[in-house]
């Protein structure tokens, strides 16, 4: 069986930053990514990031990936396995992988799980019809493959993803008929919402999807207004001729490997689903397993990158590979996280952390 000091599951923003920090501390690192492209969901983020300069604010997500990959390529103690799916993480710490069709087993000293999240679906009649896609799926289709999803889109969800993808749909020449959100307020940043409204797209709060219809794929969506108790208001139905519906109502952590490896888990509403309990250094209830990014709770790519760095530093230290600037970096990364999670926008994250931290 192959041995390695640190094995990182997932080559998105969290996993790449974890690998960078662990490797800079002197550990031997393997990163496994199931796709043939590194960067996770960064590779379709054409917008410039917010936050501070330390999290690459002002840089487009697509360019951040290249910055991270360049850093990794400079180090000879990092091995990157693309087209490699981690199939299992057993309680005894053995990992099984499928690398380009070949089954292998690895016994790492430490594991960092950074598998990210998947898009949630919404319940309404005919929600399984072709033409109804996750908003991130449409972003992949447009921004990676250069293919328009259709002609007329209904966006469900006015969080940052819903707003940003709506804008990107318009950049790609697609008509966005409306953006809905069941809640009484817009969840995403107002700067994004204002931009969309200026382009003439209505953002309908307190609205949801009543049903979808079409022969083989989506042709029509019926939307309905909700009252203060989130109940449908009879007679408020409107029909929209749309061939695409983007569902952007949130994500849930892809935490299956953590369940399997025996980590203590909890359902935390603020984090979008089941997540592992963790220490402030992102160590789970299993001493050899750490987490970073959305798998531990849905947040932004900026905080995923900072968490990656923290997990990388902590993992390396736990096997006596201490980064030469450990104290300085450790303090700085925690300050960055605190600032990303400050204020009203970070309320739910801080509340989730209270429940998830051990």
């Amino acid at each position: 069986m192959k041995h390695v000091e640190v094995f990182v599951v997932g080559g998105g923003p969290a996993g790449l930053c974890a690998a960078i920090s662990a490797a800079e501390s002197g550990a031997d690192v393997i990163v496994a990514e199931r796709s043939s492209i590194l960067g996770g969901q960064l590779i379709k983020q054409t917008h410039m990031f917010f936050g501070s300069e330390k999290q690459y604010a002002g840089t487009r997500g697509i360019d951040i990936t290249d910055i991270l990959i360049d850093k990794l390529n400079e180090m000879d103690n990092v091995k990157i396995l693309k087209d490699t799916t981690v199939l299992s993480v057993y309680e005894d710490g053995v990992i099984s992988i499928e690398e380009n069709g070949v089954y292998k087993k690895i016994k790492p000293e430490r594991i960092i799980i950074a598998t990210g999240a998947s898009e949630k679906s919404l319940a309404f009649p005919n929600n399984d019809m072709p033409g109804i896609y996750g908003a991130g799926a449409v972003q992949t289709l447009m921004n990676i493959h250069g293919v328009r999803p259709g002609h007329n889109v209904l966006m469900v969800g006015a969080g940052n993803i819903g707003l940003i993808v709506s804008y990107q749909l318009m950049q790609a020449g697609v008509n966005v008929k409306a953006i809905l959100d069941a809640s009484p307020t817009i969840g995403g940043y107002l700067v994004h919402a204002s931009k969309i409204r200026r382009m003439g797209v209505p953002i309908l709060t307190r609205h949801t999807v009543k049903r979808a219809d079409g022969t083989d794929s989506l042709e029509k969506a019926t939307i309905v207004e909700l009252d203060e108790k989130w109940q449908e208001i009879p007679g408020s139905e409107q029909e929209l001729d749309v061939d695409v519906m983007c569902v952007s109502i949130g994500l849930s952590p892809l935490s299956e490997l953590l369940f399997q490896s025996g980590c203590e888990m909890a359902y935390i509403r603020e984090f979008g689903g089941y997540v592992p309990l963790r220490s402030i250094n992102l160590k789970t209830s299993q001493d050899h397993i750490y987490i970073a990014g959305d798998v531990g709770g849905i947040e932004e790519a900026s905080s995923a990158m900072v968490e990656g760095h923290i997990a990388g530093l902590a993992v390396a230290k736990s096997i006596n590979k201490v980064h030469e600037n450990y104290d300085l970096l450790y303090k700085d990364y925690h300050e960055q996280l605190a600032s990303l999670r400050a204020g009203h926008a970070g309320d739910h994250i801080r509340s989730g952390l209270e429940k998830a931290t051990i």
């Binding site: 399984d128 072709p130 250069g146």
Partner: protein, 101 residues
């Protein structure tokens, strides 16, 4: 359905290649996903669900949800939303759960 001009992105495409989907010849670009090539040529219905035979398209496009499973070159249950396109691929709508031959 292909985006010709984009304010931010410049799409690097592979070689234009031919493949078939349910015996129909379709053009796509090598290396893009099979799902992208099919969608670009207007194919949205990828298969039908095994019990109620409801039409199925992709949902997540990143290999999570299994809504896009098709048979590719004789192999069932291929996630075509992440599988790169190659010249001459034979893609079929899968009926039922797929058989490993």
């Amino acid at each position: 359905m292909r985006i010709q001009e984009h304010p931010v992105l410049d799409f690097k495409k592979g070689k234009e290649v031919e493949f078939t989907c349910n015996d129909k010849t379709i053009m796509g670009y090598e290396g893009e996903t099979i799902a992208a090539a099919l969608h670009a040529s207007g194919v949205k219905v990828l298969s039908h669900s095994s019990e109620n035979h409801r039409p199925r398209g992709f949902y997540c496009a990143i290999g999570n949800c299994s809504s896009c499973l098709m048979e590719v070159d004789g192999m069932p249950n291929v996630r075509i939303c992440t599988e790169p396109l190659k010249a001459g691929m034979v893609v079929l709508s899968q009926s039922g759960k797929g058989e490993i031959r």
